[in-house]
Symmetry: C2
Subunit: 184 residues, 2 copies
DNA sequence: GGTTTTATTGAACAGTTGTTTAATAAAAAG
DNA sequence: CTTTTTATTAAACAACTGTTCAATAAAACC
């Protein structure tokens, strides 16, 4: 099962066309026709690969998710002493990753973005946190539930952050997270 | 500034048409043309009021949000065996409300639903929780952040719940929430 | 009840959508 | 290099979109 070169080419062309158009206008003012025109790809070909523009963006967003994983796993390095013992230091990197790609997260968190983008982020953070999850003999806890709880709590902060157009620094978010966790 | 009777009538007609169509097919297979045909309303009139179908559903969803508020504020009755350590009396009402309207929350949490629905729910829960928020002299905590954190944590559980098509009971969700809060 | 204001209508518009078809061109396989 | 396989293309399709316009009808106002 090789990947046909033609497929790779057209997908790349469509990806790039979308990125170019996103610099000029908003995601849902962009039409399929327009993307295909810029990518020099037949409209039928677009539909056979993606079906809708959202799926094209989603494919790009998956690349960004890869950066989230590596960012999360990369320990300390960029952190300036800050940390308390209460906070899992890896968590820290999530906010920095988002700050780095805030241009795209503005789209992800915009009102008419489909939930599918949100879910990609949510599922990824859930997965990352799940590995670090230490349940001290709490047998009755539904792992899926507590992971969803913790992951989405962090995304909640990001939503708040995005609503203020990412004015705060990533470090501020970390600081707040530490304090919130200490309240409980 | 009175509300013109004609406006009320057309909006009601459009609302009802949407609800009827939602029983037959999914939200994004429904066209504006179709709604207007069923509502006996001119397409131009639809556009002058809503612009897109999502806004029509949003208006309906706001009605459901009113139920969330009254549900949350109404004193708790439905439980037979009341174990105080296992019950979080305020949040259980949120879970019951969602269970009651799960038919609509399936739409709200579907992959291609716009984030705007999510935000309506999130903002409402945030608001409800904010009133009950007791910060014991934690001056440095950003109220907006901790509210977003807590509200979205609960919504996170609901996402997980919806991904299992609301198979669990509202009581199960609440039980889990209590246990999760005790871990911290 | 008569007048004024304003929401709704119908019709038309160019443009987009999503799908399908046979023809073509490009890659893979031998 | 030749054959086979398969992705892409162009063209055409009915349907839907979003917008605009003057004409009409229905409320609001006094």
């Amino acid at each position: 099962m090789k990947t046909d070169l033609r497929v790779v080419k057209t997908k790349e062309a469509l990806q790039e066309a979308l990125l170019i158009l996103l610099k000029e206008k908003t995601l849902n003012s962009i039409s399929v026709t327009e993307i295909c025109l810029k990518a020099k790809v037949n409209r039928g070909t677009f539909y056979s690969h993606y079906g809708q523009i959202e799926n094209l963006f989603e494919e790009y967003f998956k690349e960004i998710m890869k950066d989230l994983i590596t960012s999360y796993q990369e320990p300390y390095k960029h952190v300036q002493i800050l940390i308390t013992s209460e906070l899992n230091p890896s968590t820290i990197r999530i906010f920095h990753h988002i700050e780095k790609y805030k241009k795209f997260y503005r789209i992800v968190f915009s009102k008419n973005a489909p939930l599918s983008y949100y879910y990609l982020l949510f599922d990824q953070i859930k997965e990352l946190l799940k590995n670090d999850l230490a349940l001290n003999g709490e047998k009755e806890i539904d792992i899926a539930m507590i992971s969803a709880y913790q992951a989405n709590a962090i995304v909640g902060m990001v939503i708040e952050w995005s609503k203020q157009d990412f004015q705060h620094s990533a470090n501020y978010l970390n600081q707040q997270l530490v304090r919130i966790l200490n309240v409980n």
